[in-house]
Point group: C2
Chain length 351, copies 2
């Protein structure tokens, strides 16, 4: 028996509603295999913040360090600034555990309405640098309270940081069809993006089977809307990757159900798996949150833990339920969170 210990951070809003449903699906995927998931629940997030003044205890990172993965629900609450909730939980976990890759697979899905006229055959992956770049703690303000007030934010790109993200992306591209697009803005953001271009070209040069195409972020965003089918692997900085991931998810209509994996590819630290959606305060407590994003993130977790076969089982079960038309109201259906989960469990049992 192979046992994986998973830190469960259901978090805020609909997080605690979709999390148990996803856990049940993953448990049932493991049934009959030699894999077992042991869940360690951590009640951290905005409620914890209210009583303790922090999103997580001081030793939170230590407590999770020896677990095999982190399964995150949602973080954020309308009454607490995002800068507090996210920089108190999501971002420190990504950084402390050096989860330097954010992986966002985007695929055409059955039963999901896309805004595009032609949305068949979309299958791309966005590899986002996840710990440096435009998201930096370096910055501040001057002239506070005067008409000359200003704010500064330093973007920081290191050769180390860019190289490893690009290596990961090039490796992935070489396992797929060999096309790698790099998102840049070296015509407008001259200091960091010309550096990005140079490092990307150098690293990609080590993968002769990979065709590298640098593309300006504005043109790339537009082309992602015009023909998402023309992309395979896109590598992007922290901010550009964030934006592109959501555009790409929108093209397949999956913004509410897409998964996101925050990886430490060398497995020196636990990786974190989360749905792309937020805490959705508007629908909390109604039992109608869509659990698909959480479950799909769970499938990525199984894959990362070394069980691609189980991941495929979950994904196929997901797809069969989506095709059947059973869905929560956000996708136009009338099912509850639990009903969707049960249907996916049933599909897994019938596999």
């Amino acid at each position: 028996m192979k046992t994986h210990v998973i830190s469960v951070l259901a978090g805020d809003g609909i997080g605690p509603e979709v999390m148990p449903v996803a856990q049940a699906v993953l448990d049932s995927a493991c049934e009959g295999s030699d894999v077992e998931l042991r869940w360690e629940e951590r009640p951290w997030g905005t409620d914890y913040f209210r009583s303790h003044g922090r999103m997580m205890p001081l030793n939170a990172i230590d407590k999770m360090a020896d677990t095999d993965a982190i399964f995150l629900g949602a973080v954020g609450h309308p009454e607490v600034p995002d800068a507090e909730t996210l920089w108190g939980m999501l971002i420190p976990i990504r950084r402390e555990f050096d989860q330097y890759i954010n992986l966002r697979p985007i695929k055409s899905l059955p039963g999901v309405r896309s805004p595009l006229a032609n949305h068949e055959g979309i299958d791309l992956v966005i590899v986002r640098e996840n710990v440096e770049g435009e998201y930096s703690a370096v910055g501040g303000r001057s002239g506070v309270g005067t008409e000359y007030a200003a704010a500064y934010q330093q973007a920081i790109f290191t050769k180390h940081g860019v190289s490893r993200a690009v290596s990961f992306a090039a490796e992935l591209a070489s396992e797929r069809n060999g096309d790698l697009v790099s998102a840049t803005k070296s015509n407008g953001i001259v200091h960091t993006m010309t550096f990005w271009d140079e490092v990307v070209a150098e690293v990609a040069g080590g993968f002769p089977e990979v065709r590298l195409t640098p593309m300006l972020i504005d043109a790339l965003s537009a082309r992602l809307v015009q023909s998402p089918q023309s992309f395979d692997v896109i590598v992007a900085s922290n901010l550009f990757g964030d934006i592109l991931s959501d555009i790409a998810a929108a093209t397949v209509g999956s913004i509410g159900i897409a998964p996101s994996a925050n990886l430490n590819p060398e497995k020196r630290h636990p990786s974190m798996f989360e749905p792309v959606h937020g805490s959705a305060p508007d629908i909390v407590g109604r039992g109608i949150a869509n659990p698909v994003g959480q479950i799909w993130a769970g499938a990525m977790m199984l894959d990362h833990l070394g069980h691609p076969d189980l991941a495929v089982d979950v994904e196929l079960a997901l797809r069969s339920v989506l095709s059947s038309g059973l869905s929560t109201p956000d996708l136009g259906g009338q099912a509850t969170t639990v009903q969707v989960g049960d249907a996916i469990v049933a599909a897994l049992a019938g596999k």
Copy 2:
């Protein structure tokens, strides 16, 4: 007779192909009115760079300072780094003439293929802060040549700079339907974007008839793909505005024909009008470049010069030719640059 002196910077690539066609259209729009355009041609750009080592002469800004507007074709050449061409011409003009607003109108167009299933009724404007923010000259590198190399880029947002952009946008929103969306990323980019949010809220507070909705750039980009019809006026920083403008143009299929106005709203300095497309080196010299973006930019110029009636004439002529199906190959037609121009002139004559 009202005479306007226009600095003409045809620039690089297809710039010199579409420029004379656009000039002819604008001249014919003015015919029979009391408006006259006097064109001052400036042969600056990459050819000039080749022989002089600069994109424009040292006194270029002085030479244009007393003209009423700048009509720009395209800037950029595959053999010269963008950082050289754009920061040697486009960006300095925007900054020296304090063209702090980049205005990008996006409207559904007849005869233009959109990638969206539902692309009727799109009518929005993006107001982009155009001279500060993420596009800053402040930055550099450390550890060059070592494995510890890094690059830094400072984003700089001033209260002055953000306020005036937001005032412009709020003013515009109050003349339209009162909806103003502000693009932010205060959950990830904490120093400058929380500042942006504060200044935006303060300025918008002075426009009680305007409903302000801050929206995260990732979610906003996705929603722009999902339902562009739900937007009216969007105000955004330099980088976010750049990206959003191209996404929005993609939704109406107009990326190759959209116009862009770089405004100094107080008219203390000349404003600049340009098509969104670049120099398109791949089709240079074939006479098939689409002149619509240049012409449409010219319509915005007429409007800015105080002749909204003439601007409307040009836009209607454009639309009637687009509906007739006459178009260059990029829009699926077989017409040449000159044929499209002639058709628009004919439509104007028949008005």
